[in-house]
Symmetry: C2
Subunit: 218 residues, 2 copies
DNA sequence: ATATAAAGTTAGACTTACCTAACAATTTTA
DNA sequence: TAAAATTGTTAGGTAAGTCTAACTTTATAT
């Protein structure tokens, strides 16, 4: 049985390394920043997780999840995304409210609960942010994804999901008129600061590079 | 903000003292037994809870909840019973499975979540064990209750709720053919060991005094 | 009414998860 | 390639919540 904290470290590592095969390793500082703790704290936990065979790690080396650790991380992710879907679909939470509560709910320990919840929700494939929900067996559909920042001028794309789940970002997304499945046309990109002019439902907005990098499109 | 542990101590105290005005105080050992920790551990926590003004307590004296502490305990109870109802009604958990998972869910911190859940469930008044669910404002209907052990021979009564929520007891209750709203006729009571002969739906069973004391009837 | 039993308290220790401060290794860059 | 910057590690400390062992107070029973 893993503690909530251990689960959060595995989830953090998965977020930093597991989703993109191009960057399969993370560093101590990087993980510390992501989890809002100090590097020394991460270092302690790395020893513990290594000893439990959940990560691969050597002193001064990079960190990666073991198959077992990855599996555990995906289980937590499954729970997180199912709970988000529940809050959004059944309890009328908004897009930007679900993440925080799901951060708590994802640690509830009950195999039966999560399978019944999945069934109750009709086996959803994506969460309210458009992210794929891992299957009960741990399979996770992971298509290569492009961000809005990579789309060339004049092209139109469809918003699939968001990378950042913070309330402030999501509220901003709504303000710009965007949502899952929105069609976005890239009108212009400033040479100077990579600001993007985009058109959504006939409305033109200017968004930053940082913003564009957090919108996944197809 | 209270920790899960602090919430559990308040809940424990409420269980031992708050439900029945006849016994408004508890002791250290009693609480320790109820929470499955050692008296020394309880003693430490009592100091903390007193300092937070959640309990009344003097060295070597009895323990009781302050109005604030009682309020907090009832909030946890409300969450516990709403989650039990959710698991039972929406996720097809059985009677004896809901308690354990609700012990975890009751600590999720989100005012909005619990009010939305209450709404989603149609503002239920009792949980799957027949216990009253406290209202959002903290009001708790508390009728004087009788147990099956107090019913005289020949009388018929109706099962309202159970006192013990453990899986083993609840499974036993089902085995005897009992459930919320069952009509129970008391056929006989042994002088020797207070064993009770009861009739439910035409079926006669013999149950112990201990069993009968955990069935609330009207 | 006093001895024994029961209940309650204190002191000291352990684990988890965190911190700061000092130091070591590695990477970057001038 | 050596100095500077970054990254990672170690040592020692704290708070929460638990324990055991020894002790004190209160309650019970003859």
């Amino acid at each position: 049985m893993l503690s909530n904290t251990e689960e959060n470290y595995l989830k953090g590592l998965f977020h930093l390394t597991g989703e993109d095969p191009a960057k399969p390793e993370a560093g101590t500082n990087e993980l510390a920043t992501h989890l809002n703790v100090k590097p020394a704290t991460v270092n302690d936990m790395l020893k513990k997780l290594k000893q439990k065979k959940l990560i691969r790690y050597e002193k001064y080396g990079k960190i990666s999840l073991s198959p077992e650790g990855r599996q555990r991380a995906i289980e937590v992710l499954r729970k997180h995304r199912l709970w988000e879907t529940f809050l959004y679909q059944k309890l009328d939470f908004t897009w930007d409210e679900v993440h925080e509560v799901a951060e708590q709910l994802e640690h509830i320990q009950s195999k039966k609960l999560i399978e019944k919840l999945d069934q109750f929700l009709g086996h959803p494939e994506v969460d309210p942010h458009g992210e794929a929900i891992p299957a009960a067996n741990g399979e996770l559909k992971t298509q290569p994804r492009k961000t809005l920042a990579e789309i060339s001028i004049g092209k139109t794309c469809k918003m699939m999901s968001v990378k950042d789940n913070t309330a402030s970002f999501l509220q901003y997304v709504v303000k710009v008129g965007l949502g899952i499945s929105s069609n976005i046309k890239v009108i212009d990109r400033q040479e100077y600061d990579a600001m993007l002019a985009i058109e959504v439902d006939g409305k033109v907005s200017n968004v930053s590079q940082k913003f564009a990098e957090n919108i996944f499109v197809a």
